[in-house]
């Protein structure tokens, strides 16, 4: 798999950071301290975060700052979590969101 973490950058220093384990659709994955859920998934090569409830089309993140809602996922059973701004925590259970998500928050 392609490595997406930048290790050698002419201007910025990206220190290694602590490893944060989480799962994506049941698969174990690793993020780094400082990651949001979306950045950790991106580092693991995951591009599709969900499927739109109306168009059924795949969605990835778009704005990465919490503006556009393209990145909504199910996290620890709760749907519609904006993964691009939500910090990654150890042990998080992250799942692809289909439709409007699981009906737990009605």
């Amino acid at each position: 798999m392609e490595n997406r973490r930048i290790t050698d950058h002419p201007i910025l220093d990206f220190s290694e950071g602590e490893v944060i384990p989480f799962t994506f659709d049941g698969k174990p994955m690793e993020g780094r301290s400082g990651d949001t859920i979306a950045s950790a998934l991106h580092a693991n090569g995951v591009k599709v975060l969900g499927y739109h409830f109306k168009t059924k089309r795949p969605r990835g993140f778009y704005c990465a700052i919490g503006n556009c809602s393209s990145c909504l996922m199910v996290v620890n059973g709760q749907s519609n979590v904006r993964t691009c701004t939500e910090p990654l925590l150890p042990g998080m259970k992250v799942e692809t969101q289909i439709d409007r998500g699981v009906p737990d928050d009605v």
């Binding site: 910025l12 168009t55 795949p58 778009y62």
Partner: protein
């Protein structure tokens, strides 16, 4: 409980930081609200050196300027309160601001407000524009420069304004290849020096070109670009397919002014400034007394101008509260001089025209106006 303070600054980018620093320096109590978890706004993603003169920290990199302004803020700790992860969600005509502060509901009543909310990115319509792998330029920068991640392997950049050119350069620095920069206009919109930087690194800049569509099953695999004529229609037969896994949209910014609309400020549509902007006096007060505006929220410009505007807005807000002392007149004059010098060149012709439409409003007198 209502939080009371002299001044609320909404937005912690260069404009907001300067406004908070200046007003607090003049003796006002300040609450700074920032939606993000960090201060700095756009600056924390800018790894390149900035233009301007020494006064606006020219030749410093954006990230370093953010740190500088943040340090200054810390030195004023006793007068400035900072709430990060705090979004101003409502601005009512009685002057109350409602805030989502880390998930809790807060109400704030300040005597003055500086809106320095910056801008949001424009989007583009083309078939499959919602495929994963199509990102806004801001998102690409955030991924790269905040989280240290390459957005992909090969990027097609849409837009040759300064942002498109600079983000292309930053992509190359991160080890990502840039297939091409596509620009609809017949000439490059950004500064020539930025264009030359990426051109000599092998990135073609295709003016009078547009993206026709994106293709891919679950995410971007390629894009079709084509030449466009002066009528903005695609020249038949000029289509070409560009293999890429990322399409970066950088077609401009538009001022983020929702709160000013809500507050009832007179808004004017000025394309040269990026869309709707509040009418204001040359001292940056809007048509609602006590509400000032600074930075990209007042019209899309640059960090250098945003910092000076923030300085001026913070100063005016403090002065109107009776704060400040000797030297304020000179400080004001100096701000106005810096602004006019930054805006005096040919590349700022559009900005000047836009500003002449935005300025020149009459702010009604405040009830508590000092005689």
């Amino acid at each position: 409980m209502m939080y009371e303070t002299d001044l609320v600054v909404i937005g912690g980018g260069p404009a907001g930081l300067m406004a908070a620093n200046t007003a607090a320096g003049a003796g006002a109590s300040v609450l700074l609200l920032e939606r993000d978890r960090h201060l700095g706004g756009q600056l924390i993603k800018q790894t390149h050196k900035f233009f301007g003169s020494e006064k606006q920290h020219a030749s410093e990199r954006g990230i370093d300027i953010a740190a500088l302004l943040g340090d200054e803020l810390k030195s004023l700790e006793d007068r400035v309160t900072v709430w990060t992860h705090a979004t101003a969600v409502g601005l009512y005509d009685d002057g109350v601001i409602t805030v989502d502060y880390d998930g809790t509901y807060r109400k704030v009543r300040p005597k003055r407000i500086v809106a320095a909310t910056g801008a949001s990115e424009k989007f583009l319509s083309f078939p499959n524009n919602d495929l994963p792998g199509i990102y806004g330029a801001g998102a690409v920068q955030t991924m790269m420069n905040v989280y240290g991640l390459r957005p992909g392997k090969r990027v097609l950049m849409i837009g040759a304004g300064n942002i498109g050119l600079i983000v292309s350069y930053q992509l190359l620095q991160a080890g990502v290849s840039v297939a091409a920069v596509v620009e609809g206009l017949p000439q490059i919109g950004g500064y020539a020096v930025h264009a030359s930087k990426i051109r000599r690194a092998g990135v073609p800049i295709l003016t009078s070109h547009t993206i026709v569509r994106a293709d891919g099953k679950e995410s971007v695999e390629s894009a079709v670009i084509a030449e466009i004529g002066s009528d903005w229609k695609v020249v038949r037969g000029s289509e070409q397919t560009i293999p890429c896994d990322v399409i970066c949209i950088s077609v401009g910014l538009t001022p983020l002014t929702e709160l000013l609309w809500q507050a009832g400020c007179e808004m004017r549509y000025i394309p040269a400034l990026g869309g709707y902007v509040p009418a204001r006096s040359d001292r940056l007060e809007t048509t609602v007394p006590g509400i000032y505006v600074a930075g990209d929220a007042a019209g899309i410009e640059e960090a250098s101008a945003a910092m000076v505007e923030g300085h001026l807005a913070g100063l005016e807000a403090a002065l109107s509260l009776g704060c400040g002392g000797d030297g304020c007149e000179e400080e004001r004059a100096d701000c106005l001089k810096q602004l006019s010098s930054l805006r005096s060149g040919p590349t700022a012709e559009k900005i000047r025209a836009g500003l002449s439409c935005a300025h020149g409003c009459q702010t009604p007198k405040r009830r508590d106006e000092h005689a």
